[in-house]
Amino acid sequence: MSQNLEQEVKELIAGVIGREPEELKSETNFWKDLGVDSIKAIEITVAIERKFKVSVRDEEIPKITTVGQAVAVIKEALEKKPK
């Protein structure tokens, strides 16, 4: 489940920033290493919310700097989601 989620997130983020999923490791900092900025960070958030049907809090947006962090934010949001 987690590996599937991580792969899905990699593909999603890679699509938004115009990279190949293979370029994204779990710990790759896509702000520092792949040139993501505050504008792309919002586009990534929009994509995450649409795909996983979750709401990411404002203050979480700048914290999503790696695939691992994105996965953590998504998991937390999914857990908090009313059933």
């Binding site: 900025d37 919002i42 586009e43 958030t45 929009v46 404002d58």
Partner: protein, 431 residues
Amino acid sequence: MSSRTRIAITGLGPISSIGIGKDDFWSGLSAGKPNVKKEEVFIDGEPWDSFFLHKVEDFNIHDFGIDEAKLNDIREWKEGEEITDLNYLLAAVKLALDDAGIDYSAGDSGLGLVLAHENIGLMPFGLKISNLAYEILSGKKKLSKKDFFNNLYKSFLKSGYDIQTFADLFHVARVFNIHNYSLFINNACASGLYAFEAGAEIIRNGQAKAVVVAAADNPEIYKYLWFRDLGIYSKSGLVRPFCKDSDGLVFGDGGAGIVLEDMASAKKRRAKIYAEYLGGGFDLEGWKITVPQIGNDSYVKAINKAFKNSKTREADIDLLVPHGVGSQPIDYYEAKAIIATFGNNPKKPLISALKPYVGHNLGSSALLESLVMLLCLNNDTVFPALNYDNPDPKFNIMLNKEKKQVKLKAAMKICCAFAGFNAAAVFRRVS
């Protein structure tokens, strides 16, 4: 069915870091030298923090010829505390009414009132809470929980009431004998444009012949800390809208008062008419509080609604004043809406971002910048972009770089505010 009542703008009252009152303000704009200062904040002599701001200096509420007895009543209600935000509102209303030549000395001035502010009364209230909490938490006061709650209640009764905005409406209305429809507005940075529309509707509905609309903001440490923590407050002290090296916003200080009036009444009394308010457009994106949704068309919708309501088209607009805060994602979001409306790197309208002149006046910013735009419209003048050394080509828009004397017929103010309050307003010069 009667034709829609036309709305004239007949009075302007700016209070800003580059000038107080219409004439000084225009001189300050023309000089193009913003008054940016570093505010050092101390607590009991101990440095706390510092931030840049466009600072109003030499402001004294007693310099405006406002009824001193009524000012004293406000001071008594405030238990001696001078509230700068309220003083700015009072002064802005006075300047605007005097500029319009409207007599408010009679029992009922016939006016309506719309006030706008993002956070009025919050700072005095917050400081009082902080001071008492310090007394208790530092062990200077020992209280049971019940006594603590009672103490809080008694200490904050007055200032707590005063963050409920009706008190400010009351104070301002009382000073200027305003007894007709009144309204307090808070749509974050877009408040000024919502206030224009509300004021116009009050007149169109026959609730008042004229409405004074005013907004203000006095920058304070708590506001700065919030914007700093959001990562959008400039460390350089320079607002650089749509630039590669933009590093955030810098607070403005002051406010603005503007008189809206039934066009027929204004003409009848031969008032100076700065412009006609043709209409506004408003769209609430509703995604996040502090971040715009890149890719959403809510801002474009607001602009298109403004065209529809004002019965104008893109080609009619000679001058566009954007929000232009100098924060990359907000500027990008705004530039996308501008190019979706006017095309890539449009030659027309001329785009003039004004926060490098007056700072970001938060809940008053849209009103103050509209006031600048109205003066530009009347003087056929467009000011050059300040701090515009490194325009970012990714935005696909260019700000006007040189001071221009050019015939201006219509202008549009747009704003994309926190919480997704997107707004646009169209004004036309009256010949």
